[in-house]
Symmetry: D2
Subunit: 335 residues, 4 copies
């Protein structure tokens, strides 16, 4: 019987990380154990009012802190880590968003520079109503308000990269990182390939909600109380992050240009479906072509993210990763 | 009271078109009148079995035929055409898909050439069950089958381009064309800017269903009996195609690389939301950032398509194009 | 013996074109005959001083006029047209350049939109000194001047597209068009596939000089007196424009993103070298990899252009297109 | 008087690195001192015959070894390192090239995946003739040979990245890395921004020659005896690598898609020219537009490289980095 008591991980102020890789674990965790932890918002809590401009109160590159890394008992290179998100509860009554000079999809950036001046930097605050499960958009230049559904998610979940690389947490890649997909909320399981002993999982960048593409570059950022449970699938590698919910099997691709993120996600889904169903590669290509959901994660980071998702009903009951998602769901229910 | 009798447009065999622009209208239609017409499948009906390989039975560039163009009474350059899709009924019991040499997102193509040999060309047939509203996927190399929902849509709807251009129907751009978004089904209204007198609307490329991105390049292609109704919004230009359903307001972008299609769709949605709500541009940018759905249309054509959609509830009742969508819905209900 | 008297083509004011395709020929020309004609600058002569802002004095889409089309005797679909540029002489003492709102590589554009305001629109005039073969750059906000070499070229040379398409002259593609490569100067031969009887060649957009990439979107634009001679290579198709000088064999690729333009140009050069030398495809790939020059044409138009060039000395004397370039050079020398 | 005796750096077998960042310096060097060192070929010397296929004899990620890092005395974050290449002499009589599965620009890759099988893996050997300064291309499937000029260069030169990142040596970015530009040969000076104390310079990946774009992914790879001399420009940051020769001032951009590498290089050159000449930004944009050389570095790595170069004659004698290039040249002449 799995141990379903909750283990609390406490990160000390100096323990938050700004990279995947290059850091010592702050704790060791056991597969199958419920883990509770706090994640900071992407500004590290430094933006508290509309006059706290991120470029003034934050210090580059100390953005997008993650909690961790966590050493997962028994995880070895070549394994896969299954990270199930049990619950996400905003740990602040206020979510924050902003424009940020030369960051976002509708502005010139350091990757897509132009000679134009930057957009104005501006901060928006969103009141969170946990009872109604909403966040309130409040325009900055008029009194227009509208309540939006609270749909909590984690923007950044990843492990130490392969090949001794160390990457800023803002970068999404095959090790995970700043994936920024709204699919990564409670009830979903993220699969990440393990590159180093213990995997060295870290997570953060909670969003009270986010549009697909995260076009201005900043979601409704908020500190989050997260409960997760992790499993190790030994001897099964994962080339690019995958994700599973009760109804969807998803592959994620991180790359530029965006069509390459699309290609990576679709190619991986085709190969995964072929492996799970026994379909030959072109038959799987065909099935995926008629059924896939192809949605933007972020289109603002050093690499962009696309997801390719398929309804699990079309897979005749085939279970990804030996049924890891269902087993983790069972852990939660028995907890 | 609008005239809601149905006008039948019959295209003679030689009347199907392979371009937007460069052709004389085959009929004149009146705004507010229900129009019924038949569209051919993208192969022009020439692929009838799994041994009919498109590269052998079809003759380039005679692919993706459209029905039209239709001269819309009163449409003038600078106006917008609102094309409401009332119903789409498969006109064949069998849908067709295929791989096609050097076409699709997971193969090298003429735009993204490599020195590798092409993928195998193969055809799949899908039995349509109108009662159960399904199409049946049947693997070509095993007996794996699965029923998928029938979700009919039109891949290609457009008008004559600006600047005297003539474009193949396979090309999506600001004049519409091969947009290939699953959003373009019954109950949706497509908005297209008018470039020439009468607009010269044409449509075709029915899909029994399609995955987002249309990754293999070919949906479940099928001839379609379509009923549409068209309106003209005088003096209101439309820079890039937009689309509206009962719940969503959507902007479409067509470009390469895919991030530019994303940028175009999001930029247009931001500006549209600003105009409809009175929000200043950065406030609209913020609202869109937290709420947008960003989904792939096709990622296989000479230009790729992304959609940016927002839930109309967040717009405080503001009505796009003076409420054209609701008015066209009313025409249908009174018909 | 070829007829080497010079035939003068005179385009009347109303005869300049803004598209490839969709127009009747203004003259018929014979292969092997020297042809003399005048091309207008890309502004059609309407920008005459630094206060003539293009967005005010020009009318979209009436930009980038071409002289032609010329019906080439004997050219049939499937043939290749060899267009040899004998000489280019500026027909004005002043070249013109400008920034243009939302056009150029270091600004947001209609293809890569942002929410930033456009760059300032500004005009620069360049005095041409034919004796010294220079053009003089004169800063607009200081008295900095510098003389640059006069290196005349044609930005736009093309034929009617395939598949009944009509494209604005600003678009480079497989039919040629706005290629904007500095390689297209006197002494070079451009090879274009013929899509319609007579080919329907048109040319224009003379540049007194241009940087690779044409980063601000506008070269040193100038009306040009051009002498050309054309040949038809029957039964030899050309998939993407190629170019030859006395020392270089070049393939051009037009696409977005820019890596696809690179891929198209390199893929075509590899295949061309394999065909000319008898090398197998991977051997040709290897030879090209170590020797190619890969340079930007324009990175500002609806499609971008890259060139892939190889020194002809590495080809063991193999002659492209049955030696068309040398034969056209001979025509000139005997003229 | 500078110390112009030559300091020899010897890297022990275990001391070669596969990352920028994350490693301790192997030696400390003084600015203004001639440094002699050996670089390995990109295969670490493991490919010795045409039957040594890289995917079999090399172990990922142990490719592209660099010699270093070298701690440069006095270099501090915010400074710029000027790395002048005095001479490059092949340290092997044979250069090596290859195709490599799913690597190169004319094949599908892990970034641009397709369902096609990979190209054949094949090795080519090039005999080096130091007297004639040539390398001999020898086809693998015929007896076609041709001598190509020996044009030695270093593919990979970089420093430790900012923000505690560690990157594989195959990645070009703002810290340098696998830039793969033929401009980086003897007589050129590379400018790199310093991110950590000592800069931590490392270099390798010698090429006997390389085509622009390095289209098959592998140049004529060879171990190299290099002599360099380094200077520190205190208090002058460098945002993206720059390069200077006796005649050219160049900015490099590393990004995907390739147009962003182009934009970064051109944007940086415009700003550099503006700073050096006092021209306002649009005047510099104009001057660069008419004079720039825009050439591909590599179009095969995780990020692509473009160069933007301008003839120094157009800069009225303005000296970049306080004349560092000329001073380093003087060190060499006095050595």
């Amino acid at each position: 019987m799995p141990d379903t008591s909750i283990t609390r991980i406490e990160a000390e102020p100096g323990q938050y990380g700004y990279t995947f890789g290059g850091r010592e674990p702050i704790a060791e965790i056991k597969p199958g154990t419920l883990i509770s932890l706090r994640t900071l918002d992407c500004f590290g809590g430094k933006v508290r009012s509309v006059t706290d401009l991120p470029s003034q109160v934050c210090e580059f590159p100390y953005l997008n802190p993650v909690t961790g890394p966590l050493y997962v008992d028994g995880a070895r290179p070549g394994d896969t880590l299954a990270v199930h998100i049990v619950s996400l509860t905003p740990a602040s009554p206020v979510g924050i968003s902003s424009t940020f000079p030369h960051f976002g999809a509708l502005t010139s950036t350091s990757h897509t520079p132009t000679l134009q001046p930057p957009l104005e930097e501006r901060v928006w605050l969103y009141d969170v109503d946990l009872d109604r499960q909403t966040v309130r958009y409040q325009a900055s230049r008029s009194d227009y308000t509208v309540d939006l559904p609270l749909e909590p998610m984690l923007g950044t979940v990843g492990v130490a990269p392969a090949a001794s690389e160390v990457r800023q947490t803002i970068v999404p890649d095959v090790h995970g990182g700043n994936l920024d997909t709204p699919l990564l909320g409670p009830g979903s399981t993220l699969y990440l390939g393990v590159n180093v002993p213990g995997g060295l999982l870290a997570l953060g960048d909670g969003h009270a909600r986010q549009g697909e593409g995260e076009v201005c570059g900043v979601a409704v950022e908020i500190a989050m109380d997260a409960v997760i449970v992790v499993d190790v699938i030994p001897g099964v590698p994962t080339a690019t992050p995958r994700l599973e919910t009760d109804t969807r099997l998803v592959s994620l691709g991180a790359a530029r240009p965006l069509e390459d993120a699309f290609r990576i996600s679709q190619d991986d889904l085709v190969r995964h479906v072929a492996q799970l169903t026994g379909l030959d590669l072109l038959d799987a290509y065909q099935l995926v072509s008629q059924t896939t959901e192809a949605r933007a994660g972020n289109v603002v980071d050093p690499q962009y993210v696309m997801s390719a998702g398929i309804d699990k009903r079309y897979l005749h009951g085939a279970a990804a990763y030996h049924g890891a998602h269902d087993q983790l769901r069972a852990v939660v229910r028995s907890g």
